[in-house]
């Protein structure tokens, strides 16, 4: 085995140009394959991480429509109270997201449209405060408000500033009164895209902004299950208690997105990975076949000298594995660098949350990558191995001399 490996190594380095070409070709193909494997699950993993980071593992909605795209939950206060009483539940938080406009005090200036996230100020926040304080900490002159970084920059505001907002909550919104908010901090919101302008405040303030009765209706209830029971158990308990509502765990939500919304990326990665593999397979098969065909006389002589068929066949297989192995190792850093670049391009698309990544490294992808390239190295070597295995020794020696 070691002798065969050593022999394959010497054979590989005897034609450095061709070997380098093969290794670089495999590296290019391998980098693309690696990226496709990262892409195939990257979005799902990233989405899962995004959901988990919010600190809630069950979502309760009015229907099975995607969150925030369906009807609102009515009598939300009672629903929250009922859920919070369940032993499988640690916390339940109502959340509403509505549009609003920041009304400028300057004459003739156009209002700035923002998304207002209303939540319980005393619950665990779904955002990360990067400047100032959170909604619950300390008292403020008006209703407290957090703004995201983009909006803070656009308005030129900081903690301590005040802004006036008007709800944009459907027909008749123009008649709604303005409300004054005190900016208490600047925060990052996990589902914001690069251009998003988001604010967050108490859910009661949002109800007031839209002229709703506080606690009457919300978009979603976020639930944190009791750790010892888990999300599945909590979801089952909520379903049993509130039969009219749609309950979904993070896992189910990820599974649904993976099956429907994200399947596009999985299909693309599958097709591109298959094409990439095919080109890699062809490259190695052609290089090895050409190499073997050039050495037929030498191989026949080795067989005549007494090297076994298995030994010369193994030599070809090891050559293939070495070339693919070297290319595959080189491909990993190249693929990682390429994935960072491609990820940046995709994340710049409108509507994509900045915290979502399309290419996410996971050890499973590395294992799949190794298996796929290993299989390609064996598959590509099959034809040249067959040439060597079935080589007629005497006829080849005769042909070499005549040639």
């Amino acid at each position: 085995m070691l002798r065969a490996l050593h022999f394959a190594w010497r054979n590989s380095v005897r034609q450095p140009g061709r070997t380098c070409l093969g290794v670089l070709g495999v590296a290019a193909v391998g980098a693309l394959l690696f990226d496709m494997l990262l892409l195939s699950h990257g979005l799902v993993l990233s989405f899962r991480d995004l959901l988990d980071r919010a600190g809630f593992d069950v979502r309760v909605l009015a229907t099975d429509a995607a969150p925030l795209s369906g009807p609102r939950i009515v009598d939300a206060e009672a629903a929250v109270a009922a859920i919070a009483r369940l032993p499988q539940v640690e916390a339940a938080v109502p959340v509403s997201i509505r549009n609003a406009e920041i009304v400028s005090q300057s004459e003739g200036a156009r209002p700035i449209r923002v998304q207002f996230l209303g939540a319980d100020p005393n619950a665990r926040p779904m955002w990360t405060v990067i400047d100032g304080r959170d909604l619950s900490a300390g008292a403020s002159a008006g209703s407290p408000l957090l703004v995201n970084r983009a909006l803070a920059a656009r308005l030129g505001v900081a903690p301590g500033s005040t802004v006036s907002l008007r709800g944009s909550c459907g027909p008749g919104s123009a008649a709604l009164p303005q409300m004054r908010f005190a900016i208490v901090g600047v925060a990052e919101f996990p589902f914001d895209d690069a251009a998003a302008e988001t604010v967050a405040g108490p859910i009661s303030s949002l109800a007031g902004l839209c002229g709703d009765e506080p606690g009457s209706s919300v978009d979603m209830l976020l639930v944190r299950s009791n750790p010892k029971d888990g999300s599945e158990s909590a979801a089952a308990a909520i379903r049993a208690r509130l039969r009219g509502l749609h309950v979904v765990t993070n896992g189910e939500l990820v599974e649904r997105f993976s099956r429907v919304e994200f399947s596009y990326f999985r299909q693309i990665s599958f097709v591109l990975a298959t094409v990439t593999m095919f080109f890699g397979f062809l490259l190695i098969a052609v290089l090895l076949t050409a190499s073997v065909n050039e050495r037929l006389g030498e191989i026949a002589a080795l067989r005549a000298v007494g090297l076994s068929r298995g030994r010369v066949v193994a030599g070809v297989l090891f050559e293939s594995m070495m070339m693919v192995g070297a290319g595959a190792i080189l491909a990993v850093p190249v693929g990682l660098a390429l994935s960072v670049w491609l990820d940046g391009i995709l994340r710049a698309l409108p509507g994509i949350p900045t915290d979502v990544h399309f290419f996410v490294f996971e050890s499973r992808a590395l294992v799949s990558y190794a298996w796929l390239l290993g299989a390609a190295s064996v598959g590509a070597a099959l034809y040249p191995m067959r040439i060597v295995a079935t080589l007629p020794i005497a006829a080849t020696l005769r042909r070499e001399v005549v040639g």
Binding site: R3, N11, A304, V305, P392
Partner: protein
Amino acid sequence: MTEPPIVEARHVSRTFPMAAAPVAALRDVSLGIASGEYVAVVGPSGCGKSTLLHILGCVDVPTGGEVLFHGRGVSSLSDGDRSRLRLRELGFVFQRFFLLPMLTAWENVELPQAEAGVDRAVRRRRATELLEYVGLSNRAGHRPSELSGGEMQRVAIARALANRPRLLLADEPTGELDQQTGGQIVTLLDELHKDGTAVVVVTHDMAVAARAHRLLTMRDGQIVESTSR
């Protein structure tokens, strides 16, 4: 009781299927090579000399007749057994040397021993001895591309002797060499024979053939004359 031949061909024929018509390269050839013999096979091109050598060397199988090695039929051996037989009992020298270009002279000589599982220290000593034997101890670290034709053929002979074969088969060993260098190779074959190795050499060169103790003349796939000296 006389010692049985190392290799024996009994009524051997070899026909190659061709598109136009089958070509009979060997027709009912019988001969035996005894231990320590020195045999030359001569004849015009295409008379079947190399085919006979390949069949005696177990790299080809006859379409008729039988080949015995130490009295045992070769046809019944598996490919692996025939490889082992070639590795341990036979030495091949080719017209075009067929040394491995990426290995040094020393490594080329060591290769068959490594394949036979010879201990590293033993095979190193043997490779060194053999290169000394063929007069190339000072060229051991050179690759074939750095050697002359005569030197390459001497390395090929050393490689053929690596596992102490009973029989050395040489196919036109001087075919690619000038007269002077060819003469050195013939001298080397003489020495090998004197040291007890049976030698069968296929050649066009009558000067090479004249060194053998038995001269076989072939024509149209048959041995038409056998002369012993």
